[in-house]
């Protein structure tokens, strides 16, 4: 821990979250709750087909319907029909097709937007959708990634002449030589199915053209109000200083609200054009097709090792589904995984390549973990397959190859420098909690007796890179923005505190955690701190919340801003007490003259002096505040060991998580309860990918899992009570020693579960199952393995 937090009173306490009462009862402002007098309600005519030419649009019936004010097509919008920019052109020759807000002549996925309807109430706007008649001349759907790359494939964007978005190869070391020096090579094809992020609150946007001082105000259920302001200005040409973007309370995002969406642009340009407020709230059905999806990759993985289980090399060949268009960082998602395929292991060579492909499906982009769940899955799954091939215990193989705690800082084959870690300690603790040996004994008993229910043990020893990100690194990766974060702390005249943060919470509990940090730095009670966030008018600088960055980066800004407050306050206090600043100590919010306890003053008293400014040191400016913008020194590398005991009913194929132990090392914990909550949610989401979720399309490009009755998300009733614990290996690149935790659970759990399912069935000849490992998929795998075994 840094020396600047002299007296830790709040950091590390599992305080109840300040924001929970209003979030849980819904007694707050969601975007949809914002009522704007005279607002027009927007609904959207969406393509019901995956790919077609639009031959005609007849909107006359809709225009004649009651309460309908206007219907706009691409032709009606003309120059106002903005383009969604992609801000991560990962290669020089990347194909970046135009992405108009309203489709021009051609629709490219179910849910693509053909027209916008505005009416004076929401029901009329929805009724009017039936009055817009669009004729489509169907074109072939492009669904299969490999078929899309074949010669003569139908094209998603005919003007591009190809369905390939980009292809890249990044060799690290000499893979061919490493492979040649190996005794064993194991290869597998893993499929990262498409996932639908499904935050509890769908998206929503409301735009008022008459802000308090003439600006346009955009409320959006977004993770990124600051970035959104820049992107809205860029795409619409409306000057950024005329835009105020507010993310009120937001009900979850998981990356799906790290985006610039068509509906945000439409609401803005139409409100601006008509001079009336415009509001849109996504339906759940729209959310399934119109909010970006996650994952969607074919992973061809090859690992090479000696017969003693020493890793030599890894080869990763990805085929990544971009969907129909590039959203803001669609092409970059595989790159966020690129750095992590080697996981926690040492090896001589690692060859990465990725080919990105357009399909006639909803665009993909960041989803909890963004690239790292994919890479972690691949390495942790293939390690189990290698262990099986070598006849080794999966943890034994890992131990042989992982970076030991004495070896940090360690520069990996992928080029990152992991600052700290202690995989041995986390694994030892996890094993203790899990009862590994007993479960292995039970597994053997069940195998020997041919029990209907077989037991498997799944292992995942993961690390990940988060805390996005050093701005220069982002620049080197061709990402168009930086990765810094900003904080201002103001001590108000009466001693209460406003903490203005550039992070934008949507469920993470920043109001509580940030208060805990600031309370310790500036010595005021947690309750006295109000966190201001998510509003470019009140919190002008920020890079928002995603990539487990808010504490990892934003926390540093809080610390420095607080230190500046204390530095200034100390000068004032010294001046008032006629003491030398160096003779003052600052404890629990009080400045005391060392060795003279009678002479002291509080930070609150100093704040009042700074307000009246009657008696400040010469030349000092009034008011007591501190601002800091921090560019992080490096990424953050949380790690952990997750162990899952999985029961598989071999008759029905149903896999059940019986026991789940995770020991996460996220460095110093500000609020352990929030950490635990993040881990729980993440683990559940990762289990969702392993066993339940998957966007299924038919050959015509229709989304089959288009409701929450068909796209199954696990609930608490489907999950065991997770056993969580931690080891604490402080980060050395973060002054508080913290690391990120927002995505860790989702990154770690998926391979733990599938490793467990495969382990339960390996004696039956099973070496892999596809995700989601539904009962039917598992049953078919068992049947196929057994008929293969008999043949």
């Amino acid at each position: 821990m840094t020396a600047t937090v002299e007296h830790v009173a709040n950091i590390g306490r599992p305080l109840r979250r300040k924001e929970d009462a209003r979030l849980l009862t819904g007694q707050t402002q969601w975007t949809d709750s914002i009522k704007l007098p005279g607002a027009l309600h927007m609904t959207l005519v969406r393509s019901p087909v995956a790919h077609a030419r639009i031959t005609s649009v007849d909107k006359s019936a809709a225009e004649a319907m009651p309460n309908v004010v206007a219907v706009f097509t691409a032709a009606d919008l003309g120059d106002l029909n903005a383009r969604i920019p992609c801000v991560w052109p990962v290669t020089d020759d990347i194909v970046m097709p135009e992405f108009p807000v309203l489709a021009i002549d051609e629709v490219r996925h179910v849910g693509d937007v053909v027209a916008a309807v505005l009416a004076t109430d929401a029901a009329s706007a929805e009724d009017a959708l039936e009055g817009v008649h669009v004729e489509y001349d169907t074109l072939p759907a492009v669904g299969d990634l490999e078929a899309a790359l074949a010669d003569g494939a139908s094209l998603v964007h005919s003007s591009a002449g190809t369905n390939q978005c980009y292809t890249m190869n990044v060799p690290n070391g000499d893979y061919a030589a490493a492979k040649a020096a190996s005794d064993v090579v194991v290869s597998r094809r893993f499929i990262q199915q498409r996932l639908i992020p499904s935050p509890m609150e769908p998206r929503a946007v409301a735009v008022s053209p008459m802000g308090t001082s003439g600006e346009l105000t955009v409320w959006s259920a977004t993770q990124i109000p600051h970035v959104l302001r820049v992107l809205l200005a860029l795409s619409t040409g409306i000057p950024e200083n005329r835009l105020r973007v507010i993310a009120p309370d937001v009900g979850g995002g998981f990356g799906a609200k790290l985006q610039l969406y068509r509906e945000e642009i439409l609401a803005l340009v139409l409100a601006n054009k008509l001079g009336r407020p415009v509001k849109w709230t996504e339906t759940r059905s729209e959310n399934m097709v119109a909010t970006h999806h996650g994952r969607g990759q074919i992973q061809d993985i090859e690992i090479a090792a000696t017969k003693d289980g020493i890793l030599k090399g890894l080869k990763v060949t990805l085929t990544a589904d971009m969907g129909a268009y590039l959203q803001i960082i669609t092409p970059g998602i595989p790159l966020l995984g690129m750095f992590m395929y080697n996981g926690i292991y040492k090896m001589d060579a690692y060859d990465f390549s990725c080919t990105a492909v357009f399909t006639t499906k909803t665009p993909t982009d960041a989803y909890r973990g963004a690239g790292r769940p994919e890479s972690t899955y691949a390495i942790e799954r293939i390690m189990d397959e290698l262990a099986a091939e070598l006849g080794m215990d999966p943890l034994g193989l890992r131990r042989k190859n992982w970076i030991t705690h004495e070896e940090f800082p360690y520069t990996t084959i992928a080029g990152l420098t992991y600052d700290t870690g202690n995989y041995e300690a986390a694994t030892a603790r996890a094993l203790e909690l899990f009862g590994y040996d007993e479960l292995r004994a039970e597994q053997k008993r069940r195998r020997d007796s041919g029990d209907v229910v077989q037991l498997g043990i799944g292992v995942s020893t993961f690390t990940e890179m988060c805390g996005l990100a050093p701005s220069r690194t982002l620049g080197a990766l061709k990402y168009v923005a930086g990765g810094w974060e900003n904080c201002t702390i103001r001590v108000l005249p009466l001693g209460k505190v406003e903490l203005v943060t550039g992070t934008s919470p949507h469920g993470q509990g920043h109001e509580t955690a940030w208060s805990q940090i600031a309370a310790d730095v500036i010595g005021v009670p947690v309750e006295d701190i109000e966190i201001i966030h998510g509003d470019t008018g009140r919190a002008p600088y920020g890079m928002d919340t995603y990539g487990s960055r808010s504490l990892a980066v934003g926390g540093q800004a809080i610390l420095r801003a607080g230190e500046k407050v204390v530095e200034k306050a100390k000068l004032i206090a010294a001046h008032q007490m006629e003491a030398n600043p160096d003779d003052l100590e600052f404890v629990d919010g009080a400045f005391r003259v060392k060795g003279d306890p009678e002479r002291s003053t509080t930070i609150q008293a100093v704040a009042f002096e700074a307000f009246t400014a009657h008696n400040l040191p010469d030349g000092m400016e009034p008011t007591l505040s501190g601002e800091s913008t921090v560019d992080p020194a490096d990424f953050s590398f949380p790690h952990g060991t997750h162990l899952a005991a999985i029961e598989v009913d071999t008759e029905t194929g149903k896999a059940t998580v019986r026991k789940y132990v995770c020991v996460d090392d996220v460095g110093v914990q500000i609020n352990p309860m929030i950490v635990e909550g993040q881990v729980h949610g993440g683990v559940a989401q990762g289990i969702g990918q392993a066993l339940y979720e998957g966007a299924e399309y038919d050959d015509d490009g229709n989304l089959l899992t288009a409701t929450l009755a068909d796209y199954l998300i696990p609930s608490a009733a489907d999950l065991p009570s997770f056993i969580t614990d931690q080891t604490v290996t402080p980060s050395t690149t973060h002054p508080l020693g913290t690391k990120g935790v927002g995505e860790a659970g989702a990154i770690a759990s998926t391979p733990a579960i599938i490793n467990g399912v495969v382990d339960a069935l390996r004696h039956l000849g099973v070496t892999d199952v596809t995700m989601p490992a539904t009962p039917e998929a598992v049953w078919r795998t068992i049947v196929a393995a057994q008929s293969g075994a008999q043949a």
Binding site: A122, A123, E126, D127, T283, R284, S285, E651, T652, K654, Y692, E696, L704, T705, T707, A709, D710, L712, I713, P714, S715, A717, D718, T774, P775, E776, W779, R780
Partner: protein
Amino acid sequence: MIPATFDYVRPDSLADAVSALSGGGEDAKVLAGGQSLMPMLRIRLASPTLLVDCSRLAELRGISDDGDAIVIGASTPHHDVMHDPLVMAHAPLIARTTAMVADPAIRHRGTFGGSLAHADPAGDLPTVSLVLGAQMVLAGPNGRRTVAASDFFVDYFTTALEPDEILVSVRIPKLGAGWGYDYQKFHRTAQAWAIVGVAAAVRRENGTIAEARVGLTNMAASPGRAATTESALAGAAANVDAIAAAAAHAADGTNPTSDLHAKADFRQHLARVLTGRAVRVAAGV
């Protein structure tokens, strides 16, 4: 997610409800707990012009003892049904199965009669009512009639109810002592509908199975009985092997649908596995 415009009435008596319904013609619909109907309205899969709310009609609520049967009012919420002493005593299979329907919030609103009238092929209670030999009491403009469960379920989401008829109550014969029951519901998440469900009612006599009824959920457009299995069980020894041999025929003659949740052959496989399990539990084996 906003339904198309419709009219809404909440009559005070069954007679008024029947006349409102018949006055509304083909496009009028009964509204009970709304747990199935409202989602269909919201995604505009149905657009009735009139909803006749029967959820609070006193004549349609509550459970009573009628000698050799118990009578469950159509508008009795699932939650009340599963905790009712009469149901627990005389039709424990209903109590047990209802506890597997959806989740507590839905069970407080959704109704027993609504489940039957809705006739979702994946619904659990239609199968159970078939196995128990339930009698549906319907009221229409021309008075009341009674339809056996075996004639009530006609097709996907289709029952013997005429558009102007209301399901009033359901008579469940008391099966008496010696019967054991089970319902095996196979679904992927706790709140999901059955991919396949199997209801079993078994009467044991002196170590043999005297009589067995096996009902199948989601193996056809309507709930059905596994006839070959039932006859193989009648008189069979109450042991694992005999039950397994009979259960192997549970899917005979079925032609279930292939959809997102399961292909037909997996459904047939599940029907066999679940029948074995349900009958074993019901027979106490």
